[in-house]
Subunit: 268 residues, 2 copies
């Protein structure tokens, strides 16, 4: 069982990822593919006259402010455009892909943040009406039933709150939560860098291996920006029974097969 | 087992349809909801700078010309926006809805038209590169597995060609094909008119009942525009084992419960 996170930042070679998924499925592997969509959501939001707004939290994290209109665009782009084009491409390669968002059959349940505490122009502010959240529960029965029936689930990063609201959730964390829920052998997180770098952005400083007990220390010392969430997801997944996490380059040929062969940052 | 087609033309009260689906599910009915999306696809296509193009076939039918860019917008709007907002609303009402497009798990397989023979400015023309099609096969095993597990499938009108291309398909015909494949008791097609009218658009001329053997004659004599496809779908569904088809008003309160009570044009 392999859970893969690919795409979202615009750098990943989606065609190459699909070809590798097809190869793994031919070899008899069970695969779940999780994708992002930030980059395309930004492009389409701009075109629709509702440009993205990024805010900095008091703890220094940069994130998208997801008002209701942004949420609806995010759902449209990720669950409609990106998800269905991936399913189409995989079907062309002979993979019986089946696309879902976290809303469908309550695949992913989460807790809504609602209120963001941000810093803007040096001032602290409270921003309400945010529709993003954190995953709390994965509908494992649904995923297992689909996998047993021979489908390859392709998952868009939305979740349902307890109140039944759609939420924008982080795709790296979605992959980690699904990997943990399925007790996957390997979780692969493809990125637009070769893995965790000791001195970002110098790619020759790739850290090839991290023992799980050193992962938090590496996160604190070396991770920047989005890499923090990838490592956070990795730590959660390992704590809950995933054997191995590989953070690897999504911009190269055969990105998934290379990651599985250990190229990238391997945490195990 | 009830299959419902709702929405697409902008007139249907989606909120009321969801409330009725929730009521039926509480009563223990199995429901499949099929939706359209033409109206919203037109609005978003305009905003994205790729306005819809409608063409008239040599046999007099008006249809959307679906080039690849239009197909991708159609997929984004129907499978992303409309489908996920319906799933969210149904989940809020306690219904475990699960949204799929026809691409997912090869739910709907179809034949691509590819070439349209049209009349433009009085001249016959051949228009290539169209991505619309006609449904040939429904993955009944997938639908039955979801229904048995307690999910309410919500289906977006896309199909996969034999070559694995995504196709835009008519949502009325999707509902008819699914109704037929599931041998549904009732197929309800909600519209922005009260049913088949003897003298369109005079709503006092509603035809309340048509025996199946007279359906083709009624189609030829009274159906105009999109009502032709609804009746064509109804005839196909009845021929393949659906007990009853109701074409009814989607703009009223309790639209689905009223249709099931026989208000509209009942064909049985």
């Amino acid at each position: 069982m392999i859970v893969v996170k690919a795409g979202g930042n615009g750098g990943t070679d989606v065609e190459a990822v699909c070809a590798d998924v097809a190869e793994l499925v031919r070899q008899g592997e069970q695969v779940v593919l999780v994708h992002g969509g930030s980059h395309e959501t930004n492009l389409i939001s701009e075109k629709l006259g509702h440009p993205p707004r990024f805010v900095t939290s008091v703890s220094g994290f940069v994130s998208r402010y997801t008002d209701r209109e942004t949420l609806e665009i995010f759902a449209m782009v990720t669950a409609g455009r990106i998800n269905k084009l991936l399913v189409e491409r995989l079907q062309q390669l002979g993979v019986n892909a089946l696309g879902l968002s976290g809303l469908d059959g309550r695949l992913l349940e989460g807790r809504r943040k609602g209120t963001l505490r941000i810093v803007e122009n040096g001032k602290r502010k409270v921003l309400r009406g945010d529709y993003s959240g954190r995953i709390e529960r994965v509908n494992v029965a649904l995923l297992n039933a689909l996998l047993m029936a021979g489908y390859v689930p392709v998952v868009a990063p939305l979740a349902l709150s307890r109140q039944g609201e759609a939420l924008n959730v982080d795709a790296d964390r979605v992959a980690a939560a699904i990997g943990a829920a399925l007790k996957a052998q390997t979780l692969v997180i493809l990125s637009n860098v070769p893995g965790l770098l000791r001195r970002f952005p110098d790619e020759s400083t790739l850290i090839p291996h991290i023992p799980p007990e050193k992962a938090q220390e590496h996160l604190d010392r070396y991770a920047r920006g989005r890499m923090k969430k990838k490592l956070l997801g990795a730590i959660e997944a390992l704590n809950e029974g995933v054997e191995r996490v590989v953070i690897a380059d999504g911009r190269v040929a055969r990105p998934l097969l290379r990651a599985l062969a250990g190229q990238g940052t391997v945490i195990r």
